[in-house]
Symmetry: D2
Subunit: 120 residues, 4 copies
């Protein structure tokens, strides 16, 4: 069975192929493009308070959705050219995190070896 992520991967491959853009799509270049898009995403949140970020106005949310899309497209494309199965990798990492951050020890606390993150 083909998953929606696999379908997106194939569509991106075809998108690059018909434009002869595979030459630009080295992992190095795609990692940079991903960083550029994440920069745009972060910029959407930079002057918002924590509270404001939780309920952005419709225009802001629409822009955030577009930036999330751009990040997703480059992430999926980068994983593809590297031959990495993104869902398997994420699943493995989440299991690691689950073991590493025992729920009863880290409950309610962001106190870990900084700047390690609570959550993912």
């Amino acid at each position: 069975m083909t998953t929606e992520l696999e379908r997106l991967t194939v569509r991106l491959r075809e998108f690059a192929r018909v434009r002869e853009w595979e030459q630009f799509h080295t992992p190095k270049n795609l990692a940079m493009a991903l960083a550029g898009e994440v920069g745009e995403l972060v910029a959407e949140f930079q002057w918002l308070t924590a509270e404001q970020s939780m309920s952005p106005d419709p225009d802001a949310l629409a822009r955030m959705r577009t930036e999330l899309a751009d990040v997703t497209l480059y992430l999926v494309r980068l994983a593809d050219v590297l031959g990495v199965d993104l869902m398997a990798a994420a699943g493995d990492k989440l299991e690691d995190n689950d073991r590493r951050y025992a729920a009863d020890r880290y409950r309610g606390s962001a106190e870990k070896a900084p700047p390690s993150p609570p959550g993912a």
Copy 2:
């Protein structure tokens, strides 16, 4: 039917819930965490040539896979707290790009209004 992305979303929600980390998971904070992880991913490629980045050695590839996983986990979590359907957003954006960058006009060319990207 539940997709693998939906399952991952639910697992991340549960991961945060049992640790009482939802309080840290504002969109603003998650966008920063995503940026931090993308920084680690980019760092893996910084001294590689384009060619080297296309065939990283096994150790480097394993680290890249882990960083791709971290980026995925925060991206999926951020989309979830914002209520954005990542696959729908990515699909919409890819359609936009398909219209915007006509294949016969942009074939083989990275010449677009910079720094716009060829590919995704």
Copy 3:
């Protein structure tokens, strides 16, 4: 007269030269290294509230200082290999911003064409 920034620029040049690292210091690579370091800097702030970020504990502040240093080193090195005078460029941009964001119009407001930033 030699400024402290010029002295730092020359020291970085020498640092790269004696290690024969100039071959790695293309603008492209240095931009990636800068992005990687900024990712580490952002990570220091990701779980802090706005208030906490204004008075970090001594350990956190020491780490932030180190990350600011890393960012500075790559920024200065990148400007050098591109032949850009960082202080002149920053001065020019600040003058532009001064004209663009009239004080009496933008006073107290982050409402600009997003995601443009209030402040610099």
Copy 4:
């Protein structure tokens, strides 16, 4: 004696003060703004080869100069609100790097505990 960096710091302080933007200039927000600008800088290099990045055309170089300026402005402002002396911090870090990466051991090699960088 006042250095050019100190003068820029004071100008940025005044720039924020007259617009009543100090309320937005928490270290957390400024770190995000810095990340956003570095994203724009990286995007300028993403499709360039290493060689092309060494001799960008005049238009690209002008954009790079502007992005370098934006990065500098936020970096200087962030250091100021944190009370960090950027030049002292950078000098300390460069001395550390000088000791850590002995020239005769690391000559010509990017082989360090990855993704540590050769150069700064």
